[in-house]
Amino acid sequence: MSVDYARAEARPSLARRARRRPALVVVAVLFVVVIVLLVWSSKPQDYTAFSPENTAGDGARAAAEILRTQGVEVRKAESLGSTRIGDPATTTLVIAEPHLLQEFQVEALLDYPGDLVTLGVDDATLRLANTGLVSTYADATTVSLASCRAEDALAAQQVEAGPWGVSGTPAQGVTTCFPTDRGAATYVDLERDAGRLTILASPEIVTNDRLAQEGNAALTLRTLGRHPSVVWYVADGFDSSVPTWEGGDGIAPPEAVPVSPDFLPPGTLPAAFALGLAVLVTAMWRARRFGPLVREPLPVVVRASEATRGRARLYRRARAAGRAGAAMRAHAARNIGPRLGVPRTAGADALVDAICRATGRNRADVTDLLYGPPPASDADLMTLTTELDRLESEVHRP
């Protein structure tokens, strides 16, 4: 085996490199630890509107926290099926955004043997609960007085109502409060067979942004804090389960659930995520270059005619027809002179004479063509050029 092979230099081992630069290792370890801690401690931020964990303006974390400090246990349910209420008699079931529920879910909710509060209004609930009311929409929010006999509403005195509300003639036993001047009400309270149903038609009352306004807080806390525990569910349209509680069997979900078209098979999201990670691995595979790029010292590449082209552009921009015409004339004379045996040193007369003899042209014409006034415009220049070309071709004709 010969010894003159070129070989890659042995790189110092990882341990030796670490020993040489201990600070680097410490920094790297700290970095990893901080990242792990951050990932570990960070809960996924809740951005769902009316969620009791959402701290943003449209969340309801403030209301939930106040209830908790008052000794009410607030639990958020991720799906209706996971409500699993132990004692319906002491538990308020809060449903936010009920318009996203399907009808069989509303039916099941109305069977709940305890207090039910909906944050928001939908016609299915109003109809199935026989309230005789329908939902309406007004563009504005107005501050309205309770104007009814419900204790909770009277305690709140006045709230910000709208834009959603209910209107119509309430059925027997249905109380509506906080009417606006357009006749819509914002608070609906009725006794069902199983328990009370309270509808906050403008759910913005409970949000972090608006809780401190008017009597919003009083209405919210009194409505939600009747019992020592609250189960809070925010409808999302993808959940097709029904609520469950101790002692009740609820209503079995129908065999065929009407699904929206983007309702995907259950494993799709994890599989798509795995594919996404595989794309990252593919990027790592493709990103590794097979050796470094090779430098190419490039030569200077300027066309030799660049200066002439620049001069042509200058002529054109300056509309220097006279100067261009003079160049064309001189060039034509230079071409014709040697052809007719006229030396360069000979004067203009000698050249004109020779041309007249060769072509039989009028002397005045030739003089005017070669030594006349300079062309004044582009059109004159074109004409002059054509004339000069014709003269040259006549001279060159044998």
Binding site: M1, S2, D4, Y5, A6, R7, A8, A10, P266, G267, T268, P270, A271, A272, F273, A274, L275, L277, A278, L280, V281, T282, M284, W285, R288, F290, G291, P292, V294, R295, E296, P299, V300, V301, V302, R303, A304, S305, A307, T308, R309, R311, A312, Y315, R316, R323, A324, G325, A327, M328, A330, H331, R334, R344, D378, L381, M382, T385, T386, D389
Partner: protein
């Protein structure tokens, strides 16, 4: 370390079991597992330091021709290796297929070939050899680049050598070696021979006739052992592109043809490439070694973006030549020649030597001169006419100084210079 496509495929296969999982933890676990497996695979692959490479590049190749560069690769470890390898060359070396795959048993060596078709004159250098050693699972491996210097010198194309046979035939005619009779050719006395009817009576040698008692005439032949010095201008103007190549390349072609012709004619050839300092020099070479030496010296000459130092050229020429010689200056006849001192240099040189100034004309300008389509083209024609007149003036000044001026396009310059040389030789002016 590098990953292979198998790793990506294996990572993508994780999507199938992920369909029965909930959440993202399974996908993370799968991908991290695959990456860990790849890392292990790379770790247990043979060490990259156990690969030895040795270049076996050809010394030189003529431009437009192809050659193969050899690369010997050896497995210096005690394990089998599965390798892929990139033999990197700079792009203008025109390396064809630079990537190779091979398996090497322990201690085995193999020779790989990379085809080179260089696209530019000069020294084309090889870059590092990058080696990838695959791990046993083929998921990943080790990658290292090994310094393996190599150079291929790309010689000038010498496309004008196709003009050489016709010029040599012409040279033989002048020389009297061919059957064609050429009266008055040459100026150097060759021999005496008997008068035959038809000979020019002016060439009778009366003294010899008196001594021998018969009528003798002198015969002449072209001078031999004359000095021909070619000065190749490598300054700013030689960098401009004419057609597809810089002006300098046309000058090199002309130098090669003229030198080949002059060497055959028995003259002593010297070549120098000069801008502000001497970039290449060939002198004192004769016989078959001269042309390769000349091509080798001119191969690496590149245009420099500086003004030429013409007085220095005059001093250099006068220092090199002790007797009357033909000095061919390959440059550009341009208005700037007046300022740069070319005229003074030519004036100084024509006192002792025969000077030929050869200039590369731009065919693009000739095309501009004929433009008549619209006003823009006519203005272009006027600008080209003005340039041509200016060049004419400079050429006339040069002729007035006693220099011969050759102006031709890039492809015609070499034969034009050769023809001028032959004409001077036939006229006995050397």
């Amino acid at each position: 370390m590098y990953l292979t496509g198998w790793t990506a495929l294996l990572a993508a296969l994780g999507a199938v079991p992920a369909m029965w999982s909930t959440g993202r933890s399974f996908a993370w676990a799968w991908v991290l597992g695959v990456l860990a497996l790849a890392a292990i695979d790379a770790w247990i692959a043979p060490r990259a330091t156990d690969v030895g490479v040795r270049r076996n590049a050809p010394r030189a190749v003529r431009l437009t021709e192809s050659t193969t560069a050899g690369l010997e690769i050896a497995n210096l470890s005690r394990r089998r290796m599965r390798l892929s390898l990139r033999d990197a060359w700079q792009p203008s070396a025109g390396a064809g297929d630079t990537r190779h795959r091979l398996r090497l048993a322990a201690g085995e060596a193999a020779v790989l070939h990379t085809t080179l078709t260089p696209t530019r004159r000069g020294d084309r250098v090889a870059d590092r050899v990058t080696v990838r050693i695959s791990g046993p699972m083929r998921l990943a491996g080790r990658q290292r680049s090994i310094e393996a210097p190599g150079v291929v010198r790309v010689l000038p194309e010498f496309a004008s050598r196709r003009h050489l046979p016709s010029r040599l035939a012409r040279l033989r005619e002048i020389d009297g070696q061919s059957a064609v009779q050429l009266k008055g050719a040459g100026a150097e006395f060759d021999s005496l021979r008997e008068y035959v009817i038809g000979d020019d009576v002016r060439s009778l040698d009366w003294r010899a006739s008196a001594r021998r008692g018969e009528v003798l005439v002198r015969t002449y032949r072209p001078e031999r052992d004359r000095r021909v010095l070619t000065v190749l201008d490598t300054s700013r103007l030689s960098a401009a592109r004419v057609g597809d190549a810089p002006r300098l390349d046309a000058g090199i072609e002309a130098t090669l043809l003229l030198s080949a012709l002059a060497a055959r004619a028995g003259d002593r050839v010297q070549v120098t490439a000069f801008d502000r300092s001497e970039r290449a020099r060939v002198a004192g070479m004769t016989g078959p070694a001269m042309m390769p030496a000349l091509a080798d010296a001119l191969a690496t000459v590149q245009p420099a973006l500086i003004e030429p130092d013409w007085p220095a050229v005059a001093r250099l020429v006068q220092g090199r030549l002790s007797q009357r010689a033909l000095v061919v200056i390959l440059t550009t006849v341009d208005v700037s020649a007046v300022d740069s001192g070319l005229l003074d240099t030519v004036r100084a040189l024509t006192r002792e030597h025969v000077v030929v100034v050869a200039s590369v004309e731009d065919p693009e300008e000739a095309a501009m001169l004929a433009g008549r389509e619209d006003v823009t083209a006519v203005y272009g024609a006027a600008a080209a006419a003005r340039s041509a007149l200016e060049r004419d003036t400079v050429a006339m000044r040069l002729r007035q100084l006693g220099a011969e001026v050759v102006q031709a396009g890039p492809d015609d310059l070499a034969p034009a210079v050769a023809d001028r040389y032959l004409a001077l030789k036939a006229a006995g002016r050397l």
